[in-house]
Symmetry: C2
Subunit: 457 residues, 2 copies
């Protein structure tokens, strides 16, 4: 048979051991910190009913969602007319399930389905792949992991403050020291829309502002005009966006600008409370930056908005999130406020590779390999191997008797730091020949010495 | 909107925190032991090209595979004729990707695609969900995890022996002490087919023998007759299947029966070598049972066959595997022998629930919850919370000021063992009121004492 069959679908990836070890390092760091803050894990199925997914991500999302053919004879209930109505209509006849598109909508469904058993506030994290039929490009995949933490069932701004703490701790633990957590509040954006004379139009305003990084001020002004904002109003944005200073100074200036806006005052108050909590935790450096232009297109945010950038690395945001007051409304459960955020693991991986932040030695791979040359040595090795493993040392025996070079190549390739060579000399003396693969040195040791050396090194 | 939307696809499940904690306990136990034996993790995408999956699992497998609709206008290249040729032919026109059906075929594809970078023997483990459009029933799901470990690129029987060791260690670590690892060898089954006069018909023989548990001896005889075996030949099976004693005794009797079968001798030799290695490791109890009727329908096994049953629990096998000499042949790479096995995590979970083997207290949930009643106490608590977390203690603060009962209910429900109550007395005295949720007792402690008590308890 031909090799042409062994290909991967566009935009998907295998992760071999090297990559897995690094990815797991990121996942484990994040998981440990989520748990330290009282978050518990959940998982939802990859397959969701399309009735759950459809309409939650806009038209583009509905298009990019992977849909699964009904099993068995999916044409059974399809009429000739259905076949002629085009692919969109036919889809709903032959497919009732799709692949998870993000972790937020399945989480909302989970909360609604389990609302009688869950204890609120409910703090959950979820680390699972999602699928999008996007055009693949550098850093954009069709199957990729999301890594979310949310609290639902409380509007306490302490949750926002703890998100700041978790982002700080995760990134510092990973060695990414130079980053900025941009923060804003949807109510502040609403107030801006209000004070420039377009109350309720903050959606359009946000979409345009969101592009500031990409298209510059000129571009944003043009886009706002196209979206129906009068130039005179757009010019009113200038003094707002030019507000400078630290958070307290910016907020004080905005107090004046929002004097007539209840929404604006509320937004500033929320930001002040959150900042107060962060301060109360006594962080040396919060990495926080109140960015009044931060919008993050997503329309369901109602309070805080977060976005994290690594300084001096060109990669876009590595984390983001915010508060949403009506997450579960689409599933019939009103009045459940929540706040959450997500780490972009693929981008964090790329940043860590670029900055060479992964540990040189990993804790996953074998520490000791036994090498042998005949059946007698093999049998001699087995109880030694058992002892090492009983001491908690990851160890293996090269399974075939063969040339030493081949066995050492295997160890080198797997980055195994210690090799024990068992031959007739070792069997008769009872001592083991231990080769340190980094230093290249050999020494004779007893089993107890071997265990001590490996556990120390 | 209506609640009817929030449903799960048939045969799929959510895992809430309670279940996740237990499932992770199983996954972590298995992972730690796989790594201790030198296995490294890989992951492959959920989506595979149908050209990779189709034809690898028989007709039934092809039917039960979930297929994904091509994205965009999937009807673009479909002719009117295609629409009339029935759903099977249409499927190949509108779907080119499917969901992973097991972990073995994607692993074979991975090995072939990466054969120039991998170091052989390659020892990998893989823990990921798979999807099958099977009719859901108790213990059978449409989305479920598999948990595989394989070694490819060596025919050393040491790998078989280490599989026995890993099964032993995992099940003992999980507390499942009373189990049997049934072992057989495909060559022994071939030899049986040979000596009863039907060389090469071991496939049919196995399918029938495989049902011995379900349909009894009478049933098997009937099935064999239907499959074309003469009664006279079937009767020759009796003395073979009635061979009794420990492994050495059974093997000695089979030596005589297989005197004329090279394949039979080879099979027995392989079993003896494997048993010798297991013995060489010096296990107190191997749990091994040489079962000459063990067949496990899967036709790709060429050597050892394993199956693990928990004694006195009605649940079927919880692990199984074997050696296959031609795993990667379907992808154009010949001569790569491998041996592997899989843990059935859902069944292990059920066994552990039935035998009440999960630890009463888990390591995932919050250890200390702070409760407060006003903004002042909240701000007072933040630095204490930070200190606890810096000591590595999972801790949280109930985010809302509210009735103590509500806060304690939350802690109880989340099985948080310690609650610290912060009120005006505590703020003025500098002491903390610590409530032990199991014992119900309260005491006044300093922060240092709190940390000591929690770390000890």
């Amino acid at each position: 048979m031909s090799n042409q069959k062994s290909t991967l679908p566009k935009g998907t990836r295998d992760f071999g051991p090297d990559k897995m070890v690094k990815r797991n390092f990121i996942f484990q760091t994040i998981t440990a910190i989520f748990q330290k803050f009282g978050f518990l894990p959940i998982e939802t199925p990859a397959l969701e009913n399309l009735s759950v997914l459809t309409g939650k991500y806009g038209d583009e999302g509905d298009q990019l969602m992977f849909k699964v053919l009904n099993s068995g004879n999916f044409l059974e209930k399809v009429s000739a007319q259905d076949m002629e109505n085009g692919y969109k209509k036919l889809t709903s006849k032959i497919s009732e399930k799709g692949l998870r598109y993000d972790l937020t909508v399945p989480f909302a469904r989970f909360v609604v389905m389990n609302r009688n058993e869950l204890v609120f506030p409910f703090k959950r994290y979820q680390i699972q792949p999602v699928w999008r039929a996007d055009r693949p490009q550098k850093g954009r995949y069709r199957e990729f992991y999301q890594c979310d933490a949310d609290v639902v069932g409380t509007d306490s701004l302490l949750c926002e403050a703890e998100i700041v703490l978790m982002i700080n701790e995760v990134l510092e633990k990973l060695g990414i020291g130079d980053f900025t957590i941009k923060v804003n509040n949807r109510k502040v954006l609403s107030a801006i829309s209000e004070v420039i004379g377009y109350p309720g139009k903050e959606g359009d305003l946000c979409v345009a502002i969101d592009k500031l990084d990409k298209i510059g001020k000129e571009g944003v002004i043009k886009e706002l005009e196209e979206r129906g904002f009068a130039l005179e109003s757009i010019q009113k944005l200038d003094p707002i966006f030019e507000v400078e200073g630290n958070f307290a100074e910016k907020a004080a200036k905005l107090d004046a600008i929002f004097a007539a806006s209840e929404t604006g005052k509320k937004g500033l108050q929320e930001l002040r409370t959150m900042m107060g909590y962060v301060e109360g935790f006594g962080l040396a450096n919060t990495h926080l930056n109140f960015d009044i232009t931060l919008a993050r297109g997503l329309s369901y945010y109602t309070g805080a908005i977060f976005e994290v950038k690594v300084n001096n690395v060109q990669i876009g945001s590595i984390s983001g999130g915010g508060r949403y007051d009506n997450l579960t409304g689409a599933f019939g459960l009103k009045g459940v406020s929540g706040v959450g955020f997500s780490f972009g693991v693929d981008r964090i991986y790329d940043v860590m590779e670029e900055l060479q932040l992964f540990p040189a030695h990993n804790q996953t791979t074998t520490r000791v390999m036994f090498s042998h040359f005949d059946a007698e040595a093999l049998l001699y090795t087995l109880p030694l191997l058992k002892k090492l493993r009983e001491s908690g040392i990851k160890s293996e025996i090269y399974p075939d008797a063969g040339k030493l070079k081949k066995q050492l190549d295997y160890a080198n390739n797997k980055q195994i730091p210690f090799v024990v060579i068992i031959g007739s000399d070792e069997i008769s003396s009872g001592k083991l020949t231990l080769k340190n693969m980094q230093a290249g040195q050999q020494q004779q040791v007893s089993l107890e010495e071997l265990i001590r050396i490996v556990q120390a090194g």
